[in-house]
């Protein structure tokens, strides 16, 4: 939504995401320069085919309703106003494309490295990241254009032809032997991304709201079902939201409540000061023990440190959130108080600054320093994600508007956990060859396991007690 109070934080956050997408990831890959051999040859064809599939996936997504996931309020009031739909939807689409581009760069890099670690190197990381970013960007905009073409009759022919030409260019380039992870191929992908963007931007002026409305209605139904733990209904709504026909709700689809215990453990609750102190102490002790006992160049140690940092961040930021009159995981943005907004912006800037610093240092330093930098990124990223999970961010506000605070609370937990762990996991898998089972002492594995299990029990015990008391 466009309100004056939100604009500064929104823009800065977009800038932060863009910096991550465009600068951090390629250089993150570049940190592995000279650690491993720089030859590679086996997987470029597979990558080219994958790019074709990514573009086709965009078209497929567009046929099923496109990349937009907006609330009924947004559709009714924003898209139902005389304001240009292009102006309303384009910022949302750009943010979506940036997020997917970032994810694509990570996935492409990780997959290639895991597939052929021996032949991985600086140049490959950079080129693959660039090609993946361009492919994902193209796919998102192709999805938007396809959505318009398939749901708005007046646009079907013109936009459809444009989409077909773009797909033909990608397929033609691959079958003509152009490697998309080389400069020539990247130039072609840049043109494809530009053409996809132009096509979608032009088509969005006539964006139809029917598929968006149907999806939003299904999502609201899903949200309601989720809150009532009607998981069968959730699955049906999920299918409806993606415009698939609902499947049978017969007994074979019955979903036992296996997720319930986990759900309860990640629910947002306020704990007492005593428990807060105990948890803080436990995680700090765990972190200190890892520093003292662990080999900091071992991936599994980095993983444990990041997990502890995440939990400490959540504990510490809880106090900040309380000071700012924020209920846990409930964001008042964009109404937001100035304090909350400043918290969001400063957190984003701090994370971006640290990431940027590490990247620069890592790029010019030798490898041991780069390895340390990667670990700093992991730990700081975990801490930052935890703070953001508490204070909220503009994209969280959008999620909140769509799904409501209860569901977003859980999503935030998942995001805060998965985001930094992905970075750490990448580091572990690539740099420390964790998947190849480097020799690590059994005692260290045991220590980490005991520490994390203890932390989990301590952090959730009070919740369990409260739940049981309420049930009683």
């Amino acid at each position: 939504m466009l309100t004056p109070s939100s604009r500064l934080g929104d823009d800065l956050y977009r800038l932060y995401l863009a910096c991550l997408a465009w600068f951090f990831l390629p250089f993150y890959g570049a940190l592995f320069n000279e650690v491993l051999p720089s030859e590679w040859s086996q997987f470029d064809e597979a990558f080219d085919i994958a790019v074709i599939f990514v573009c086709l996936a965009g078209v497929w997504s567009g046929v099923r309703g496109g990349p937009f996931m907006v609330s009924r309020a947004v559709i009714l009031h924003e898209l139902g106003s005389p304001v240009s739909r292009r102006r309303l939807l384009l910022p949302w689409l750009v943010r979506q494309a940036a997020a997917w581009a970032m994810a694509a760069a990570v996935v492409a890099t990780v997959v290639i490295v895991l597939a052929d670690q021996e032949s991985f190197g600086y140049r490959v990381a950079l080129m693959i990241s660039l090609a993946a970013i361009l492919a994902a960007w193209s796919a998102v905009f192709l999805a938007a254009a396809t959505m318009v073409a398939t749901h708005e009759r007046t646009r079907a022919y013109r936009t459809g032809v444009g989409i077909a030409v773009i797909i033909a260019v990608v397929v033609g380039a691959v079958f003509a032997g152009v490697a998309l992870d080389q400069w020539r191929g990247i130039a072609i992908m840049a043109v494809v991304a530009g053409a996809s963007t132009a096509l979608a931007v032009e088509a969005l002026a006539e964006a139809p709201v029917e598929p968006l409305w149907r999806r939003a209605t299904a999502v609201e139904s899903m949200r309601s079902s989720l809150q009532q733990f009607q998981f069968q209904r959730v699955l049906v709504d999920l299918r409806n939201a993606t415009e698939q026909p609902p499947f049978s709700r017969g007994s074979r689809w019955a979903w036992p409540g296996l997720a319930l215990p986990l759900w309860r453990h990640v629910a947002a609750v306020q704990h007492s000061l005593v428990w807060h102190g105990l948890r803080l102490g436990a995680f700090t002790t765990a972190m200190a023990a890892l520093f003292w006992l662990g080999d900091l160049e071992q991936g599994v140690v980095a993983l444990g440190l990041a997990g502890c940092a995440l939990l400490i961040g959540i504990e510490v930021s809880g106090a900040v959130a309380a000071t700012a009159d924020q209920l846990p995981f409930i964001v008042h943005y964009p109404k937001g108080s100035g304090r909350v907004l400043r918290g969001q912006v400063l957190t984003s800037v701090a994370i971006a600054a640290v990431l940027g610093g590490v990247v620069v240092v890592g790029a010019i330093a030798n490898q041991p320093r780069a390895a340390a930098g990667i670990m700093v990124v992991s730990v700081v990223g975990a801490l930052g994600a935890a703070v953001q999970a508490r204070l909220g961010s503009p994209d969280v506000a959008k999620l909140l508007a769509t799904f409501g605070p209860d569901m977003v609370g859980n999503v935030l937990w998942a995001r805060a956990l998965l985001g930094p762990l992905l970075v750490v996991g990448t580091t572990v898998a690539v740099y420390h060859q964790f998947l190849r089972l480097d020799p690590l002492s059994g005692q260290l594995y045991l220590l980490i396991g005991v520490l994390l299990a203890t932390a989990a029990v301590i952090s959730t015990a009070s919740l369990e007690v409260a739940l049981k008391r309420n049930q009683g």
Partner: protein
């Protein structure tokens, strides 16, 4: 005529949700759509609002297609399930929606409805902190925070108390006096009795009884 439907067909899979040969709504009239559940009342409103596209047929609002910029400028819709921004207070929503229409919120009819429904206490509330009835009141108020000359109301009184229902009926009459075409779907006798015209729908078709205009 403000709203004109001709040869409109709406198919959901193989089901005919709506089959209307001809139907028109005048400016300055209050019309209620009545009929049993599944008769197509909400579908008709969604089509006029531009949120659903008829499978075949022609719908025009002041000569423009539903969903066009011209139609969006003149049609306001309050669906049966309130569509509110969860992260804005009602007051913020009113201001925001008025800004989207490039008008000052004070120049809209929202204050009139706030007074009628005695809803000033809702202005500082977030939707998630409201009861079902309060959400419905808020949604109705929000629907008036913009210029409109066609007002579509889908089951607008289902969650309202008796006093609020009467107040809403009075407010609708004043909108109609201002030249607004108000089209409501309802099962509420008070709203039906107050309407100038009734359109009966059965299984997506206009029924031959009542005061419907065809």
């Amino acid at each position: 005529m403000t709203v004109v439907l001709s040869d409109v067909r709406m198919l959901f899979a193989d089901v005919h949700a709506l089959r209307i040969d001809s139907l028109e709504f005048d400016a300055g009239t209050s019309t209620v759509l009545v009929g049993p559940n599944g008769a197509g009342k909400s579908t008709l409103l969604l089509i006029v609002a531009g949120l659903l596209q008829a499978t075949t047929g022609r719908v025009r609002i002041h000569g423009a297609e539903p969903g066009s910029v011209q139609a969006r400028s003149s049609v306001s819709f309050a669906p049966d399930q309130p569509a509110l921004f969860d992260d804005l207070t009602v007051a913020d929503q009113l201001t925001y929606i008025a800004r989207l229409h490039d008008v000052d919120v004070a120049s809209t009819r929202s204050q009139q409805l706030i007074d009628a429904l005695d809803a000033s206490s809702l202005l500082t509330k977030f939707p998630r902190a409201m009861s079902k009835g309060q959400r419905q009141k808020s949604a109705l108020i929000v629907a008036t925070a913009r210029p409109f000359d066609v007002l579509l109301l889908d089951e607008p009184t289902t969650a309202l108390d008796a006093g609020s229902r009467t107040a809403l009926v009075a407010a609708i009459e004043s909108f109609v006096d201002d030249g607004v075409s108000v089209i409501s779907s309802t099962h509420d006798d008070e709203l039906i009795d107050a309407a100038q015209l009734q359109v009966h729908l059965v299984e997506g078709r206009l029924a031959p009884t009542g005061d419907e205009e065809e």
